[in-house]
Amino acid sequence: MTMTAENETTLVNEEALARRWKERCASSQFSQAVLGLGTIRVMGKAGDAPVQFPRITSLDTLSALEPDEQWAVRAAQAIVIQAYDQRRSVLAAAPPQPDSLPMPKPVTTFDPSVETLLVTSIIRGG
């Protein structure tokens, strides 16, 4: 299969795709395969930077998404991969309901259907 110019642009022009994804989030116009918005919170100097991605049932349905939505899923996946790479914990940690307790679950692979992920900070013995 020949690489089209569009595919190549997809590879290199991340900024444009990020911008398009941000606009899409603001307008809430998502592809049909999108279940809703998921969020990865990355701890850092910022406090927590929330990164949004379109929730889908599995990565197999990625091709049903628009290029910027695909990019957002890929970015979320890259966060989980890099966190694993840097030995940072990624937790699926939904805010608890009233009168219940937090039940964080360690995550090692990216599940695009999950609602909230938290990339925790790096700790050491002091």
Binding site: M1, M3, D48, I81, D85, Q86, S89, L118, V119, R124
Partner: protein
């Protein structure tokens, strides 16, 4: 502009894992103008290669890359055994396709075992044949002594070989840039190394290669300061009830799942000024046993650190405790004179051990074998759902006596003004115990 891989001045020939440091990567690069090879490893950087010719600079890795580029057969290669089984190899391609969905064409992969400097390595050559006749390749070499897991192989092949192929495809398409490459080994001075841990001062553009740095972009346009943002996140993930308990009492207790026999409880205390780490107080069978000093290894607000330790002890106690070495354990009251009056009551929890992914498990990765890691993940999720009272949530309407006492303790705590940290020297050290 300095010449770099990210700027398209070089192409990535091969990524080689350090034989001494697991998951530390040297890149063998080819200058796109001259074809000269270079490497990130210390022998190349410091020109220490005894076998270097007088005319050029080299290292074990560049010599090997040269052999590969000349299609000279490597000496004493063997098939990569279990690593090269069809399913295991196919999963490497799948992982790369998932990470780089824009790459289309016919994928193939080959795995071989060969030696670099007499140390055994597993090599994976990933190839993408493009529809227009072009071809892009990426080589990733893993040091066998680090016993790479299948997941490690998948993520690193996707990361390194995927990047090499993506940048080559982009170049073929007329685009010189392919974004930030993955993190690699760097020779750094002490100051540079410290700066690298703390993160860059500002990160104007985030590529997929350094996407975690998004956490370091301080101005997110929400009008909040980092401390305010972190406090909101802490509140969100604790829930209103626990957060109020923390605010009122200054600590939260987490019952240990791994040390159930000892009825261990971790008391996570919070600095009233919300600036410094406090040592974790450990109780066993209701007795205050020792202090664990766990501090930030990156620049994050205190609320983030507190939440990290709290959720870490809940979800993966062993990993969280693994940062604590013998010299990070202190005698009781090592960072404050306040006495404990609220009993630390252990409550039973199920022991949830993280899955150990061993090379032998690799072959069962996608099978229905109940011993395979994926099944473990599922089982663990089921177990976690049944996890009972792991955190002691006490009523907000606790006795006035306790509240008054807690406030008194906060006032007389020498660290309450924020002058101390969890790192301060201890007045007494003893009773060191680490399991």
């Amino acid at each position: 502009m300095p010449r770099s891989l990210a700027n398209g001045d070089y192409s990535l020939v091969m990524a080689v894992e350090s034989s001494s440091r697991a998951d530390s990567w040297y890149r063998v690069l080819a200058d796109r103008q001259t074809g000269a090879l270079s490497c990130d490893c210390p022998p190349w950087t410091f020109k220490q290669d005894a076998q270097a010719s007088t005319s050029g600079r080299s290292c074990h890795h560049t010599r090997l890359a040269q052999q590969l580029s000349r299609a000279t057969p490597l000496s004493a290669t063997t098939p990569a055994g279990a690593f090269a089984q069809g399913r295991a190899l196919a999963s490497l391609i799948s992982a790369t396709q998932q990470q780089w969905p824009g790459l289309r064409g016919e994928w193939s992969i080959e795995g071989r075992v060969a030696e670099i400097n007499e140390k055994p390595y597993v090599f994976f050559l990933l190839t993408l044949a493009l529809g227009n006749g072009g071809m892009a390749t990426g080589v990733t070499a893993f040091a066998q002594r680090h016993r790479p897991t299948q997941q490690h192989l998948q993520t690193r092949v996707a990361m390194w070989s995927g990047y090499a192929i993506a940048s080559e495809v982009a170049r073929i398409g007329g685009f010189p840039l392919a974004g930030q490459p993955p993190e690699h080994f760097r020779v750094t001075s002490g100051r540079r190394a410290r700066r690298a841990v703390a993160g860059p001062a500002s990160t104007p553009a985030i590529g997929l290669g350094d996407i975690l740095r998004i956490g370091d972009v301080e101005d997110l346009g929400d009008g909040l300061r980092p401390t305010e943002r972190a406090e909101l996140t802490l509140r969100l993930f604790l829930g209103e009830q626990l957060y109020q308990q923390l605010e009122t009492r200054g600590f939260l207790d987490v019952s240990s799942a791994h040390y159930a026999e000892e009825q261990r409880v971790y008391r996570l205390r919070r600095d009233p000024s919300k600036r410094y780490e406090r040592r974790v107080r450990v109780f066993e069978r209701g007795r205050y046993f020792n202090d664990l000093c766990i501090v930030r290894a990156q620049n994050v607000p205190e609320a983030d650190h507190f939440l990290t330790v709290f959720l870490g002890l809940l979800s993966d106690e062993e990993t969280t405790l693994s940062v604590v070495k013998r010299h990070n354990i202190f005698a009781p009251n090592s960072d404050g004179r306040e006495r404990e009056t609220v009993p630390a009551i252990w409550q039973p929890r199920l022991c949830i051990a993280p899955p150990k992914i061993l090379p032998d498990d690799v072959l069962n990765w996608q099978s229905g074998n109940p011993g395979c890691p994926r099944c473990w993940l599922h089982l663990r999720a089921e177990l976690l759902r049944e996890m009972s009272n792991c955190v002691q949530v006490e009523g907000i309407d606790e006795s006035e006596h306790q509240l008054l006492h807690a406030r008194f303790l906060q006032r007389c705590d020498p660290l309450a003004d924020g002058c101390g940290t969890a790192n301060q020297p201890t007045t007494a050290e003893g009773s060191h115990r680490l399991r």
